[in-house]
Symmetry: C2
Subunit: 149 residues, 2 copies
């Protein structure tokens, strides 16, 4: 896919991450786009906001998209490399592509996804790196809780 398109979609995920940060939450955001570029769902990590450890950004976007007969051709856009939980989601449901804001702060399962045929576009976006690295630096316990460390 084109970088310009990927960056435009990433902006949706970044807006979710920033909304989460403003709520006192973990600033990871995501969005699921359909094959034709329709926004199917968007969401953010809600561990703090809802006291819900199961809602990562990617699972929130997936839930918001509702039931879909197929995920073929869809793209999951996320501000941060997907953890094993969210990588498993992508693999199980056959989401075709993952656009990743950054994998510097956290390197999840995207190599595994690539090895299993998922198209990975890693943008290494400076805004995403700054947002996440500052959060992890200031909230190490919360971050470690979120990734099970």
């Amino acid at each position: 896919m084109e970088q310009e398109q990927a960056r435009a979609w990433l902006a949706t995920a970044v807006a979710e991450a920033r909304a989460g940060l403003a709520e006192g939450g973990i600033p990871v955001g995501a969005a699921l786009y359909g094959p034709d570029g329709t926004l199917l769902g968007r969401g953010r990590n809600r561990r703090v906001q809802d006291d819900d450890p199961s809602t990562h950004a990617e699972t929130a976007a997936f839930r918001a998209a509702g039931r879909q007969r197929t995920y073929r051709g869809t793209t999951m856009v996320t501000t941060l490399s997907p953890c094993w939980y969210c990588s498993g989601l992508v693999r199980q449901f056959g989401i075709s592509r993952v656009v990743i804001g950054e994998a510097t702060t956290f390197h999840g399962g995207h190599d595994w996804l690539a090895a299993h045929g998922v198209e990975i576009l890693l943008l290494q976006d400076p805004e995403c790196v700054t947002l996440m690295s500052a959060f992890v630096r200031d909230n190490p316990d919360l971050w470690n809780e979120d990734i099970g460390d």
Copy 2:
């Protein structure tokens, strides 16, 4: 762990699966137990009931358990071999053990979990096999939707 203990815990997951079936849902149930045997959370697949594709039995039990500082020593009990999404959940959060009712109807990611140090106890429980195989036979479209096929 002892088979007797595992079978007692599996009964909780089976009760969830049966409740799901009675609601018209996909009959997979799960429960998360603490290191000391405390029931931390239980739940069932809610794709049909809530129109929510993100709630598999294991993620429901995980959510019901609320925020935990660590999952070391916990056991996820599920009526069916965990799909990649739920296997990713187990790996990411460091859940120590998975007790599985059956892996005949569906073989998910439990070998991968075992290769990454998760203790797997596969019971091949006849009640779980009968429950799930009858459901898949009678509802192939719904089942395929749930596993992204």
